[in-house]
């Protein structure tokens, strides 16, 4: 036969090399995003007890919402629970590094913010954390995107991104939707 088995194997191997090249290109692009834009999936192995979440510590009800620390770090603490977010409206400044911290006292939830790369699962037992910079101002939707029970469909919050000039913390460094 004109085309021997070796030629077939050679053509296959050549194609396999092309395939590996293609996936390597994709891996390189991902490494580039990691190095230049600091993009990682949100990992944060920080255990917290879901059963006593509401009793003490940073996720007690009075402590939730956006707060600016003395060093100027903007952190928003949000609890996802069956079937509401607390708080349900969150104010954050645009064009500034912000940190969102989530925890749940009950089951698995998850959030995304429409039109951004903000996305994380919220797993009972851990604090989920996303660092990001919002570049566009306006009201964004932050739904629960993981099935958490029969009320899952009605579980969503609003994220209000305001220009830095309108982001005014009170004496304790807190900013909330009601205050505006």
């Amino acid at each position: 036969m004109a085309i021997g088995e070796e030629a077939i194997v050679r053509s296959e191997l050549r194609w396999a090399a092309v395939s590996i090249g293609v996936v390597s290109l994709i891996m390189l692009a991902l490494i580039y995003a990691g190095i230049v834009h600091h993009i990682n999936p949100p990992s944060n192995i920080e255990p917290i007890d879901p059963k006593t979440l509401h009793l003490s510590g940073e996720f007690t009800e009075a402590n939730l919402g956006t707060r600016v620390s003395a060093e100027g770090q903007v952190t928003s603490r949000i609890v996802a629970t069956q079937f509401t977010f607390q708080p349900r409206c969150i104010v954050l400044p645009a064009n500034q590094r912000v940190t969102l911290r989530f925890a749940t006292p009950d089951v698995i939830h998850g959030i995304l913010v429409t039109g951004t790369n903000v996305n994380t699962m919220i797993v009972p037992g851990y604090v989920s954390q996303v660092h990001t910079v919002f570049t566009r101002t306006g009201e964004l939707l932050m739904p629960c995107h993981e099935y958490c029970g029969l009320g899952h469909s009605e579980m969503f919050a609003t994220l209000r991104v305001v220009p830095a000039s309108e982001f005014k913390p009170d004496a304790q460094g807190r900013v909330s939707c009601d205050a505006r």
């Binding site: 053509s11 194609w15 994709i26 692009a29 834009h37 600091h38 951004t116 903000v118 996303v130 990001t132």
Partner: protein, 48 residues
């Protein structure tokens, strides 16, 4: 021509067409991926 000779004849061209087709489709796939990467993903900003 016998079936074996037929096969021998076509095997002179194979796999040029398959290679072209596979390269075309994988190329399109790669272009599509990079379009999403550059036009949607990176503009949406950093998260970590």
């Amino acid at each position: 021509m016998t079936p074996e000779e037929e096969l021998e004849r076509v095997m002179r061209d194979v796999p040029r067409g398959a290679l072209a087709l596979a390269a075309l489709s994988v190329g399109l796939l790669l272009v599509g991926w990079f379009l999403v990467y550059l036009l949607v993903f990176l503009p949406r900003g950093m998260v970590s």
